[in-house]
Amino acid sequence: MSAVIPIQLDQGCSDAPVLLERGQREVFCGLTGIIWLHRKMQDAFFLVVGSRTCAHLIQSAAGVMIFAEPRFATAILDERDLAGLADAQDELDRVVQRLLERRPDIRLLFLVGSCPSEVIKLDLSRAAGRLSERFMPQVRVLNYSGSGIETTFTQGEDACLAALVPVLPVSMQQHEPELLIVGALADVVEDQFARLFTAMGIQRFAFFPSRRSTALPAISPQTRFLLAQPFLADSARALEDRGARRVPAPFPLGAEGSAAWMQAAGAAMGLSERVEQAIAPARQRAELALAAHRALLAGKHVFFFPDSQLEVPLARFLARELGMQLSEVGTPYLHRQHLAEELAWLPAGTALSEGQDVDKQLDRCRALRPDIVVCGLGLANPLESEGFTTKWSIELVFTPIQGFEQAGDLAGLFTRPLTRRQLLAA
């Protein structure tokens, strides 16, 4: 636990009971992660091996992006592939060959497993190994699963990064610690963090995933990694398996969260005195930006449906920095260790739920009548038509929200629907 984070163990939700629910889950599968991951990794291609449903899902989620010669596609399984497995491997080779001929600029190819490919036990790791041998050194081929049976929404990024960890080069660094920031961040956020780290005096830091697969960060037992996203359980474990050590911290959402995250980074690198000085101006700007939104949001009740695992850090930010009341905080998966600092910061007695039975959760939501509901696009318009104000959650994953300069924008995502409701009623 970082010494600079003031945690009082008699408060918060560290030991709070969590409502565990099983039932219909209104969530995306991990394939959706491709939509933002391919924007981040500029020379990577994501080939889903799945059904027409998978292709349709990505198309629906990607909206218009799909038309700009995207770096993702689906190899749609048909009846012939289901008939015999050996045949499916040959088919996959043929599809990959055709794809790489078409896109000679690709350096990293992910074979992404889906529900159908998992259920028929199509061995994509073997395929990736075979294809890697064939196309290296031009193209490295890796695999991970983005299937709905195994991953929920942002867990697709976790699976992808975890697949990438074993191929990270070994750092020659022997003594001094080096810092690795883990989790895809918008370029603008990454650049801001890089400037702050430099100002703090951190010499060696890198971001993972990197923008190009030819410049993957190196790791060693001297590597300290700091998670920028709360949904990276498997990636963290894979990094730990290679000797790197996680720096515990809350997540960089809001002025307070970003400051604690930066302080944790500084402490892990053995710096302390320049940290405050380096982040002070940005922190002040963030607090100033938040003040305007606090007037609108303070005292309002917010209800989170599970979606991305960002719910707990977001709820913490809304409660502590904007004075909102938490009706229920739902998350698809609660990683107690990675969220320890966040849970300690949540107001005591917050209703937490993990998993989902969507109809029952809707009943609870209707009974509580929150002022704003954070939910997916499948629920948002139906709830609006029932008179609720909603904030659709997928935008929280696609918009730059981390860091000091985005704190005001993040609060703005919640004030806008409330303001709009007022404007339209007037």
Binding site: Q24, S51, R52
Partner: protein
């Protein structure tokens, strides 16, 4: 395996959802893994529905596979029945659940629910969305329509059913309103509109109609066939898209209803035929148009383009394999080969090769056209949110014909604008590199998708003076002139294209 960047149609269970969502008092229990609920947002976002689709998913996960997914399905079906109390329950499996081979139909029968349970067999690895919609509607009709024991007593007015409109259908909402009005005008009563807005009880009385109107064969063709065989109801064949087809449709309906149609009265609001005759529309003559979409809309659009707007149809195709034969027959009318494909790269190559001046297609063609710098209008699903408009905008009937005229002509340069550009070419504001005002932004000059399409090397070099002469030809026909000249040079084995060759080619092609 088929390499797919994107797809014109979703999987068949999305077709089933379109039927369930269109109807009232129906619930669909779908055996599907976590994540398949993405399909809900097609309805809540693209169509902006105010209610969740009436679909319960089992959303099984990996840990459920080891245990009893069949029990999961039974629980989901029972809970869904208890919560929603539908008049009929649809049950089925999505692509992944098809692989694990639980039997939704059998499992639900075992629950002894007090409502009809209709199992859907939708082969996800062979069939697609429209097939799924057609099959689901057919199964609903087959299970629920009650065959009367004795012939129906004839009422005052002939009665019909309107079949085919669904949720997520391109302009289905307004087409139904337009056709309802039309039928009221000619004196035909409507028994049931289905599936859009119908309940299982409504389907039970489908037999009370004298005949059926099939608005969308992709959805209703199979059900209408069954009703013709088992309920003795004939069905219409004409799709009333365009003023001419609407007149034909009225004649067909009147014949089935035994009425004498008053064409003149029903046609009163038809502006499109006059607009097409007005002199401003002269410049539309023989505009090259490429048409792609679902079979019905593509065939209808090609007919309107050729016979009502005086365009030249240079390409016609569909992604609906089930109706490939109809499209081939239609294409033969225009002396062209139909393109039957669901691969957008093939469509893009075909559009590029045909060199049209207007593309009529789906949202995919809209993007292809944007990339090629061509004007485009949308005539068929799949479409994006802007094609579920707030305003009244049918495709069918006489108001539909008006909508088509405006929609298709708008992306083209208006006649006067085109004339001015021809007259003042080289003028500082009307020069050839200026963007057409309707496309906005800089001229889509370069950026051809060179990587996608094999463009054969030019057969002959252009002499500098010929190149200069070519640039005097208005830019919107220059591409065609260049292609024609090069083809001519190739056929005559001319090594260098001179000014002479250019005009020889012009003379050759103008014969």
């Amino acid at each position: 395996m088929q390499l797919t960047l994107w797809t014109y149609e979703g999987p068949p269970h999305v077709g089933a959802m379109r039927i369930a969502t269109a109807m009232r008092e129906v619930h669909y229990v779908l055996h599907a893994p976590q994540g398949d609920t993405y399909a809900d947002l097609l309805f809540t976002m693209i169509e902006r529905r105010t209610e969740r689709p009436p679909v319960t998913y089992t959303t099984f996960q990996a840990r459920d596979l080891g245990s009893d997914t069949a029990q999961l399905f039974k629980d989901a079906a029972r809970d869904a029945y208890e919560r929603f109390k539908p008049q009929a329950l649809l049950v089925g499996a999505s692509c992944t659940a098809e692989l694990i081979q639980d039997d939704p139909g059998g499992l639900t029968q075992a629950l002894n629910l007090p409502v009809p349970v209709i199992p859907l067999e939708l082969p996800a690895y062979q069939k697609k969305e429209n097939w799924g919609a057609a099959e689901t509607f057919y199964q609903l009709v087959r299970h629920l329509a009650v065959k009367p024991s004795e012939p129906r007593a004839k009422g005052d007015m002939p009665r019909c059913n309107i079949l085919g409109p669904t949720a997520l259908g391109f302009r289905h909402r307004d087409d139904v309103r337009e056709i309802r009005q039309l039928l009221a005008q000619i004196g035909v009563a409507i028994n049931v509109v289905a599936p859009l807005g119908a309940s299982p009880q409504d389907l039970a009385r489908l037999a009370d109609a004298d005949f059926n109107i099939v608005l969308y064969p992709e959805v209703a063709h199979q059900a209408a066939g069954w009703m013709a065989r088992h309920l003795g109801q004939p069905a219409t064949k004409t799709i009333p898209i365009g003023a001419g087809a609407t007149r034909e449709f009225i004649r067909e309906v009147a014949a089935l209803a035994g009425l004498d149609p008053d064409l003149a009265a029903s046609e009163a609001h038809s502006h499109a035929p006059w607009y097409a005759r007005s002199v401003d529309a002269n410049y539309l003559t023989a505009k090259r148009v490429f048409v792609f979409g679902d079979a019905s809309h593509a065939i209808a659009a090609a007919c309107v383009a050729a016979t009502e707007l005086g365009f030249k149809v240079v390409g016609l195709g569909t992604y609906s394999r089930e109706f490939a034969r109809d499209v081939r027959e239609a294409a033969a009318l225009y002396g062209i080969e139909a393109l039957i494909s669901d691969d957008y790269l093939e469509v893009e190559a075909a559009i590029s090769a045909a060199g049209p001046e207007l593309v009529l297609g789906t949202q995919m063609e809209r993007h292809i056209a944007k990339r090629l710098g061509l004007p485009c209008a949308v005539i068929s699903a799949p479409v994006h949110v802007q094609d579920f408009p707030a305003r009244y905008s049918p495709q069918m009937g006489f108001e539909g014909a008006n909508v088509l005229f405006d929609t298709w002509v708008h992306p083209l340069m208006m006649g006067l604008e085109e004339h001015l550009i021809g007259m003042f070419r080289g003028d500082f504001e009307f020069h050839e590199d200026a963007a057409p005002s309707h496309l906005g932004g800089p001229a889509a000059a370069a950026a051809p998708p060179a990587a996608l399409i094999d463009v054969p090397a030019p057969p002959a070099a252009w002499a500098p003076d010929a190149e200069k002469e070519l640039r005097k030809i208005p830019f919107f026909v220059r591409g065609k002139a260049r292609r024609n000249t090069e083809a001519y040079a190739l056929s005559k084995s001319v090594p260098v294209i001179t000014v002479e060759t250019l005009y020889d080619a012009k003379a050759h092609f103008s014969r």
